[in-house]
Amino acid sequence: MNPLSVLVGKAVRRASKLRGGGSALPGLVVERLDPGFMGRALSTLEHGVMVVSGTNGKTTTTKMVVELLEGQGLKVFTNRTGSNFTRGVAAALLGEVDWRGRLEADIAVLELDEAHAVHFVNLVRPKYSLLLNVLRDQLDRFGEIDATTRLLSKIAAATTGTVILNREDPRVAGLAPTVRDAGVVYFGLDPSLRSTFPNDDELRGATGVPAPSDLPADVVLEQVEGNGAVFGVGGKSVPADLRLRGVYNIFNAAAALAAARTVLGGAADEDALFASLSAVEPAFGRGESLTVDGQPLELVLVKNPSGFRLGLKSFDPAGTATMIAINDNYADGRDMSWLWDVDFDSLSAGGVDLVTGVRAYDMALRLKYDDVEVRGVEPEIPAALKAFIAGSPGRPKRIFCTYTAMLAVRRELSKITTVEVVS
């Protein structure tokens, strides 16, 4: 044990909180002072560590797994809102450990970005890993999606207990042979829902109905109707009403159920599991609904083509004012090509009220080629948001935004309504 590094780290954490600064600095300090800190703190947990990774849905799925396990009485450590880098985990740990560096929890459920997850599993071998999907996203960081698949295979190989895989994504299901020291559990979709969730190969060019998977799944999403869903669990069909919005979140619920059932083994209280699932609220910016001028305003985070497609499919545009905010900062991805892998036909009936962000004109150009009317373009987000709200009184509003555009939108919204601002 190294109480000194814990104390220094905690002090830096307190200081940077007072300054209102970023969440990763204390993690950096403790990583430098005491590289073994994280491994030691996480090694004593009864149920070990679960890593949640993949291109889309990490934040929401992690939140669901945490709440499902807490509903069964477990004390869960997790990394919240956006700090899905190793350093963010270390920073979050500093807030929770006692002065000797001990963490009082039964399990850690950690969302990790694909590249950082590999760094993390070299330091701490997870007992469980939940691998969601491999879709084209931020190719300027990862090169190509086969490279992303190789990153996930390293997580699978390092896992000691059970690897939970999406059987509908061939790149993820194909990781099973790389699992060395663990068992494999799958989650999946009823064949009737396959076309709703295209994998990367089906995004463009592929035709016809995909062949159903014959891998056995622990949890299958059988039906989706609005916010209601039916899950196939252990041979039974269980209906559930969810507060989460968006079909993509509902497939993630199947992933979270499979993960929680794996951790709990035979001890799962199924009724409580579904009660917890029904109570899960959307994560930050993932179909979150705010109130502005007495009207609902929804924020939909779009980070890559499949996420944008599912976002468009999940929210009916009729009667709703629509704004799209596209930035190209490092966290958003600098290459605008991804906008051309999304179909915007569903917006053509009502058009788009306003397009904003650094790459507003790229987005407006994209919409022009799908014959979608754009009623205004204003690259500056604060001015655009003001005009958007003023221009659509008495109507519900929806903003599709990339990551840094969403941070900017939230900063502006926080001046007029209650919204969590994350720096």
């Binding site: 999606i145 086969d146 290459d335 090509s337 051309w340 004109y361 150009l365």
Partner: protein
């Protein structure tokens, strides 16, 4: 009334479409309509018989695994593509197919993947990827804006000319300042973005050439490129 119909053939859209390559097809289709022509879009996938009536051929980038899948078929249709290119057929080849339109691709470990020799150029695998925004200038098409993401480095032979000269970014390789290649009516480039939306001059060159080859003359329509101009201006001001 339609002034005519142009058949756009997409090469291997399943394997070779890694980032926004559909955007190039969509732009050709829509601009043909705006100019008053119909577009018929079809696909050539591995194992298909190659059509006789394509007017404009377009191919994109793929991952290493995708390139393996199409390799054999591409070799089989290679002589057809070479003949069409020599005959003046307009073609657009981006990234992965740009490389395979050349003579060969030599990987980092020394494996030589044969190309189809439509273009006199060779590509050598590099350890580092060249990634980022690119601005290049061309006498033919003016300023070209796009985004590169490739590890292969391409060097042009005497039988082709560069598409453009890079003013920001790397382009074909880290040594000379060439970006892309031109030969007869073939345009080849590393640039995504997608390339054609923000570079309508290239799109209209391909369209005009295809229409003139088929109908003798091209009668352009009125196309408003204000948004493309604004998107270009903003793209040019972004960091590498």
């Amino acid at each position: 009334m339609s002034k005519g119909s142009i058949h756009i053939l997409q090469l291997y859209p399943r394997e070779m479409n890694i980032y926004g390559d559909w955007g190039n097809v969509l732009v050709l289709k829509q601009r043909l309509a705006w100019h008053g022509y119909d577009a018929v879009i079809s696909e050539h996938n591995a194992g298909d018989s190659f059509p006789d009536d394509a007017d404009l051929i377009i191919g994109g980038g793929g991952q290493d695994s995708g390139q393996l899948v199409i390799q054999e078929d591409l070799q089989a249709i290679g002589p057809r593509l070479r003949g069409l290119a020599e005959d003046g057929q307009p073609m657009l080849a981006i990234c992965g197919l740009y490389q395979l339109f050349g003579r060969f691709f030599k990987t980092v470990d020394g494996t030589v993947i044969p190309g189809i020799g439509v273009l006199d150029l060779e590509t050598h695998g590099g350890k580092e990827r060249l990634i980022g925004n690119v601005v290049a200038t061309s006498g033919e098409f003016g300023e070209i804006h796009g985004y590169e993401n490739h590890s292969g480095q391409t060097f042009l032979g005497a039988g082709v000319t560069p598409l453009a000269t890079v003013t920001k970014g790397e382009g074909n390789n880290a040594r000379d300042n060439h970006e892309g290649a031109r030969h007869h009516n073939v345009v080849a480039s590393y640039l995504h973005g997608s390339l054609l939306p923000k570079n309508p001059a290239i799109a209209d060159f391909l369209i005009r050439t295809a229409v003139e080859r088929k109908y003798g003359t091209f009668e352009p329509g009125e196309v408003d490129d204000t948004l493309a101009d604004l998107a270009r201006r903003h793209a040019g001001s972004r960091p590498r």
